[in-house]
Symmetry: C2
Subunit: 345 residues, 2 copies
C-alpha cells in the first residue's frame, strides 16, 4: 500500500508541474503556474487581457464509467470532459486540479490512469497544478479546469439570437451506441465498428480548437454531454428563445444510421457523452464557419434555427420548446429518455 | 426525488452567484465572477497585481466525517478547510466551485448543508461560481477554492530560513479531542467542555485574516490539517531544513492539558483537523507578530526554531528531522500515529 504522499509524488508529480522560475509573468513566454503540487495552494499568474474560465466535474465509478473501464481511457476522459467545457466557452486550456478518491492504491491502475491523464493534458498544454487523494468507497475523480478567454469573447449559453442557425460539430450518437454495445442492447456489423463506437464513448476528443475558432463568430454555445435534446434546451432557456430542428439533418455515423429509427433518435438526441459542440450563429457567418470546419478538419452541420423569443416569458416552469421536424418540414413528435443524475438510472 | 437541475437551482443558486454586469473589471468596485452557475464555465476576471491561489480538497463520508454529522456543520467545514489552505498562503478568498456526490437528494439535508456552506462563504466574501452534482455511493464533497495574493508575497512551504522562530496559532489538539469524545475514547469533565471540543472538530475557523496579515512578515507557512508533527515536516522537507520544537510550549486547551501525557501529545501533535496556521519568521519580527495576534485576537505562540539545513541533503528517503525537546531542553522521544489516507484507518 502506498501512502498518500508517495502516491502523489510517484504518479502525479511530473517535470511540468514542478516549480517554475519565480516570476514567469515577467518573462516573455507563456506564463504557467508559478507554484504547483506540494504547497497549500497552487499559484496561477493571470495572463494580460484574459479572463479565467473555470469548470468542475465529478466522475463516479458505476455512474459515469464502468468499474472495468481501461484506466488509460478513464484518465483521458476525466480531463477530456472538462476540456470540453472550456471548448464550449471558447477558452484556451491552461491548468487543472485533480481530486481523486480511490478504494485502494492499485499501482498498475494508477500508472495507466495517470498516463491517460497526462497524455491528453500534454496535447492540450494543460498543466496539473494541484490535487488531493483520499480513500473512498468507489473511484471518484473530481477535476477543476482553468482556461483563458478574452473578456466579452466567451461563448455563453444566453447569447442565442432570433434567426441564428443552429450548428453541431461531428456526428451524434456514437458514444451512446458504444454504451449500447457494452450494455448488450445491440451488436454492430463488425468488431471494427464496435471498437470505433466504444472508442467514441471512452476516448472523446474535446473540440478545443473549434471553440477558440468560434470566438466572435458564434453567438451561443455549449458542449453536448447529456444529449442534444436536453442540452439545446439549456441554450434556449438561458437565451429565452424557441428553436426548430430538422431531425433528418442531425449528423450521424453509418453505424448509427443503420439502426432502427427509434433507437437511432434515442442515441443521437438523448444519448449524451458525445462532447461535440452545439452553437448558434448568424446566417451571415455560414461561409466563415464552413471554412473553419475545413481548416480544422471538423464536420460542421446546420441542423435548425432559433425561431424567436419563447412565448412563455421567463417562468422556469415553461421551458422554451424545440420544434422537431423532418426533411419535409413535417412536425415530429419524439419520446426521448433524457439523462439526469437523479432521474434516469 | 429532485432532478439535478432543480437541485442546483433550489439550493445552490443564490443572488450572489447570478450574472453580474458584463465588465466588472471596468468598474471601481471589487471584481467578482462575471458569469456564475448555469453555463459551461464560470468566468473570473483577474484583479490587477494579483496571482490566483488555488486549492482543491475532497471530503468523503465515513472517511473525513461521520454519516450523522450535522449537515450545517459539514457545509461549513467543507469550505472552511479550503479557506484554510488559502489562509496558509496568505491569500484573500474570492470564489469556489462545488462538486457534490450524493447517495440521495434529501431536501432537509441539502437545505441545512447549503446554509452552512453559504454562511461561511458570505462571511469570507467567497462566491460559489460553479458546480456539479451527481449520485454517488457515499456523500463526496469536492471544493476548489480561489484566492488572490500579490506575486512574491505568498506564504510558501519552501521558504523557512535558519534561525527562524516556529509559530502556531490557537491551541492544538481540540479537534482530535472532540473526535475522541465521538469515538468514546475519553469523556470530558462536563457536557459544555465536550460541546466545545466537538465544535472545534466540526466547525473549524480558517485563519484567513492571520494569513493575510503575515504577508511580508512570515517566511514559510502551512495549515495544520494532519497534525503538527507531520505537517511541520512538509515545511522542513520543502525548505530542506531541520527544526527543534519544545513540546511544553505547544499551546493546548485546559481540557487537553488535563489528559494523561501520551494522549495529550497524540492529540496535540498528530491529531489533525485543527486548521491552525504553523509558520516560520525571523526573530526580528517577534514584536510585529505579537501585535498582529493582539489586533486579530488570535493566540500566537513560539514553539521552536529552524535549526539549519538538513544534513541528508535532498534525498526524499531521509526526511529532515524534528528534534522534540521539553522545557528543560531534554530530548523527548515520541511515538505518534500520524494520519495518512492510505495508512492509518
Amino acid at each position: 500500500m502506498l501512502s498518500e504522499f508517495s502516491l502523489i509524488e510517484r504518479f502525479f508529480e511530473r517535470p511540468t508541474s514542478a516549480l517554475k522560475s519565480p516570476e514567469p509573468a515577467l518573462r516573455g513566454d507563456r506564463p504557467k503556474a508559478t507554484l504547483g503540487i506540494g504547497d497549500d495552494c497552487a499559484l496561477l499568474a493571470p495572463r494580460r487581457g484574459q479572463q479565467l474560465a473555470i469548470s468542475t466535474d465529478m466522475l463516479v465509478e458505476g455512474r459515469h464509467f464502468f468499474p472495468d473501464v481501461p484506466p488509460y481511457a478513464l484518465g483521458h476522459k476525466a480531463l477530456a470532459v472538462n476540456l470540453s467545457d472550456l471548448a464550449a466557452m471558447g477558452a484556451e486550456p491552461r491548468a487543472f486540479t485533480l481530486a481523486l478518491g480511490l478504494p485502494r492504491a492499485d499501482e498498475a491502475w494508477l500508472e495507466s490512469f495517470s498516463q491517460g491523464l497526462f497524455d491528453i493534458a500534454q496535447r492540450f498544454d494543460c498543466e496539473l497544478i494541484g490535487g488531493d487523494t483520499t480513500s473512498a468507497p468507489a473511484v471518484n475523480i473530481c477535476i477543476t479546469v482553468f482556461g483563458d478567454v478574452p473578456p466579452a469573447r466567451a461563448l455563453r449559453r444566453d447569447a442565442a439570437r432570433p434567426g441564428d442557425d443552429i450548428w453541431v460539430s461531428g456526428v451524434l450518437g456514437n458514444a451512446r451506441a458504444g454504451l449500447g454495445i457494452k450494455l448488450g442492447e445491440w451488436s454492430a456489423a463488425s468488431p471494427d465498428d464496435e471498437r470505433r463506437l466504444v472508442r467514441a464513448l471512452e476516448l472523446p476528443e474535446p473540440r478545443v480548437a473549434l471553440g477558440m475558432a468560434l470566438r466572435g463568430v458564434a453567438h451561443a454555445a455549449l458542449d453536448l454531454s447529456d444529449g442534444l435534446a436536453g442540452d439545446l434546451l439549456h441554450i434556449l432557456e438561458r437565451s429565452k428563445m424557441q428553436a426548430s430542428v430538422n431531425i433528418d439533418d442531425v449528423p450521424r455515423s453509418p453505424e448509427v444510421a443503420a439502426l432502427q429509427q427509434e433507437l437511432q433518435q434515442q442515441y443521437m438526441l438523448a444519448g449524451g457523452d458525445d462532447y461535440e459542440l452545439c452553437f448558434t450563429a448568424p446566417v451571415g457567418e455560414r461561409s466563415k464557419i464552413e471554412r473553419i470546419g475545413q481548416r480544422l478538419d471538423v464536420l460542421l452541420t446546420r441542423i435548425g434555427t432559433i425561431e424567436g423569443p419563447a412565448p412563455y416569458g421567463h417562468a422556469p416552469d415553461h421551458a422554451p420548446a424545440i420544434g422537431w421536424r423532418d426533411a419535409s418540414g413535417k412536425a415530429v413528435s419524439l419520446t426521448l429518455q433524457g439523462f439526469d443524475h437523479f432521474h434516469a438510472d
